[in-house]
């Protein structure tokens, strides 16, 4: 009898679970369908008309690139300085943001003896820094400082500090406290404990996250260039603005951007694999 009641209960629980899953699934499907039909309406060109034109633009620039012949490689070389500028934006932003993130992380984790009252404060600060869209900071600084790579760099660095700070403080939470205790027993100051007990434990993970962020930041810097922050994005905006005739230059930039991003991705995932073993930072 008791077994039958138990079975009954399990059955009803399972039914309810299935109902919830079904409802969740239906919700996702409903959001997708209504969202796509609504956005299809709101778009200035519809999906079906656009579909036939989808390959027109890529086709057009590929054709122009083909016509350019061997000169195409010259064009790629021509844009390397601009690409370098974008890489520099990402590099400096990741360096400065990363340094800032280390400070923020050390100030916001109980596990490494951060000063108590500061912890929630720094955490909220990092939340805000992460949430601030880079675009807004970049546009504001471009308005004040003029068109140059520096606004993009500052914008990306600001966001990086928040995003890396959070990841770093998660790493801090998982470290072994024994070295810290050992050092405090010798009378080490807080800075000495951070330097000799915490840093050696967290350095590989920090570096791995740092590299992942560098990857993301290269993409972000390229995009910010398009709104006037210099680098490859700005060149792209110029060639696209010219419309027909500059297709070969646009194609050259696309190729350069693609190759660079791929190279950096591969390099960073190889290095990360060496640092943390499995090759997975997340």
């Amino acid at each position: 009898m008791a077994v039958a009641a138990l079975e009954q209960e399990i059955l009803s629980l399972r039914k309810r679970r299935q109902l919830y899953s079904l409802m969740g699934l239906l919700l996702v499907v409903a959001v997708l369908i209504s969202g796509y039909s609504k956005s299809n309406e709101m778009n200035s060109g519809g999906f079906l008309q656009g579909l036939s034109k989808f390959f027109d633009y890529p086709g057009e620039i590929v054709l122009e690139a083909w016509e350019a012949g061997p000169a195409f490689f010259g064009l790629i070389v021509k844009f390397i300085p601009a690409m370098l500028e974008t890489l520099n934006i990402a590099g400096v932003a990741t360096l400065l943001g990363g340094a800032m993130a280390v400070v923020l992380a050390m100030a916001s984790t109980r596990n490494v003896d951060s000063w108590g009252p500061l912890i929630p404060l720094v955490r909220r600060m990092m939340d805000i820094m992460r949430a601030f869209p880079e675009l807004i900071i970049a546009l504001f600084l471009i308005f004040v400082l003029g068109s140059s790579p520096v606004p993009a760099m500052i914008a990306v660095a600001f966001h990086t500090a928040g995003a890396l700070g959070k990841l770093f403080s998660e790493v801090n939470e998982n470290i072994d406290r024994k070295p810290i205790e050992g050092l405090s027993a010798c009378g080490a100051s807080w800075l000495q404990r951070i330097r000799f007990a915490v840093m050696p434990q967290v350095a590989p993970n920090y570096l791995s996250y740092f590299l992942l962020r560098l990857e993301i930041n290269v993409r972000a810097s390229a995009i910010l260039g398009f709104v006037g922050a210099g680098g490859i994005g700005q060149e792209l905006r110029r060639t696209i603005g010219w419309g027909k005739g500059a297709g070969d230059e646009t194609a050259a930039i696309f190729v350069l951007l693609f190759v660079t991003i791929m190279l950096i991705d591969q390099l960073s995932s190889y290095l990360r694999g060496k640092l943390v073993g499995a090759g997975r930072a997340h």
């Binding site: 519809g46 500028e85 992460r130 807004i136 400082l145 140059s148 790579p149």
Partner: protein
């Protein structure tokens, strides 16, 4: 073990020297390299030049303008009329009976009291501006410019005086301008003007409780619609603030992020099975799928959005597809890594019960990767809300494009700051929602 260590020397000097030397190189070399790189970029970015060209006063203007508004007292000399209007806009002009109390208009002449002893008298084509601790500035508009009579002594730097135009701004919130066609006095006030309702709306200046009473009352202000819908209409259609359009744009941006991420997740999951070593024995298929992921990711959102803008024009669909294409690559890669790391024991257990292939996937594999799936999708949703604003600025529409456009016109900074505040609120809200969902679904809290 302990005995072994006793027999061996604790350390051998050679190794210690080597380690110390190596570490010393790293300790000095890495910071030096970073410093060198920063110095190089300092010049590569042209920072010295940038600092000399920077216009910090623009930041000050933006800051004041975004939290303040000004009322213009304008005398148009050609048509000989006097106007008092908020931000000098025609649709926000004060009636002659309802002028603010710091302006006295007498025919086409006026006296403006800017407070703290700053006073402006406009008589005919002459403007007299008395400034405390300085004296009276007398400016006369002529047929081809302006004539200025300043008090004796050096000219202060807040006065811009040339034969065509006179401009004085002794404090941040008081300003006068004279050209041959008009005399204009700006008086600044804190706050956002006409934020709720247009200046000439019947609802202008009503308090919240008045509005509440009005919404519940039976007498219609406008016979054709209920009071509630009138209030909504007047608010959303406010021409200065364009609440309705801004809300639509925000909605578009959110839609881009949600649709893009969901689509990417739906296409990424099955493709991930094709790219995982333990699910797809065919090396060619695996290689092909992985390169497809790399290709989608490598092209990057920037290029995808530019291609989609060409094909589909302006709108949320464009942004959603750009996000979907890029993130199918990123999520697919992440999922396939998660699939390669699953525990095979569960799958074998399910197989032992005689489960079919589909049942093995459903009950052996999916429960293992579900946490990774959900948490990654939510992380991407979060970051895509930010990306969607940027894609919008490239030309896909939404709040990003609106922001760029208001910034370009740079007429009313309060509009820009309003959009900025709303964008940040939306991004933070999405952040919190996805964090909450993640906690609920994964940790079961």
């Amino acid at each position: 073990m302990a005995i072994d260590t006793l027999n061996e020397p604790v350390f051998d000097p050679q190794t210690v020297y080597q380690t110390v030397r190596k570490r010393a190189w790293v300790t000095i070399g890495v910071p030096l390299a970073i410093l060198f790189y920063l110095v190089y970029t300092w010049f590569a970015f042209g920072v010295p030049d940038l600092l000399s060209r920077a216009q910090p006063e623009r930041a000050a203007i933006l800051a004041t303008d975004s939290v303040a508004y000004k009322i213009h007292v304008t005398k148009l000399l050609r048509r000989d009329i006097m106007e008092v209007a908020i931000e000098g806009e025609r649709r926000a002009t004060y009636d002659a009976e309802n002028l603010p109390d710091w302006v006295e208009v007498n025919g086409t002449d006026a006296f403006v009291d800017l407070g703290k002893g700053y006073e402006v008298q406009i008589t005919g084509k002459v403007m007299e501006f008395s400034v405390p601790d300085y004296g009276v500035i007398k400016v006369t508009a002529t047929n081809n410019g302006v004539n200025t009579e300043l008090p004796p002594g050096p000219v202060p730097d807040w006065i811009l005086d040339n034969p065509k135009k006179f401009d004085a701004r002794p404090t941040l919130d008081r300003r006068v301008q004279v050209t041959k066609t008009k005399i204009e006095v700006h008086n600044y006030f804190g706050g956002w003007e006409n934020f709720w309702f247009p200046f000439h709306s019947e609802l202008y200046g009503m308090s919240f409780s008045q509005l509440w009473a009005l919404a519940l009352s039976n007498e219609r202000l406008d016979p054709s619609q209920s009071n509630m819908s009138l209030i909504m209409h007047e608010f959303l259609e406010n021409p200065d603030w364009q609440h309705g359009e801004i809300f639509t744009a925000l909605f578009e941006t959110i839609m881009m992020a949600v649709l893009g991420t969901l689509t990417a997740a739906i296409f990424g999951l099955p493709l991930a099975f094709l790219a995982a070593r333990n699910f797809t024995p065919s090396k060619i298929l695996r290689f092909g799928t992985r390169r497809l992921f790399d290709f989608l990711r490598g092209i990057d959102m920037l290029i995808w959005s530019l291609i989609f803008i060409r094909a589909f024009g302006l709108g949320p669909l464009t942004g959603a597809l750009a996000i979907a294409f890029t993130d199918t690559g990123s999520l697919g890669k992440l999922f396939s890594e998660a699939l390669e790391n699953i525990d095979n024991k569960q799958v074998e257990g399910v197989r032992a019960t005689g489960a079919s292939q589909i049942q093995r996937y459903r009950f052996g594999v999916i429960p293992q990767i579900l946490p990774v799936f959900v948490s990654q999708v939510l992380y991407y949703l979060e970051s895509n809300t930010r990306s969607a604003t940027v894609i919008g600025a490239l030309g896909a529409g939404g709040i990003g494009l609106m922001l760029v456009e208001t910034m370009k016109t740079s007429r009313d900074w309060e509009n820009t700051s309003y959009i900025i505040v709303l964008t940040i609120v939306v991004v933070i809200a999405m952040d919190q929602t996805s964090g909450w969902l993640r906690r609920r679904l994964i940790e079961g809290k």
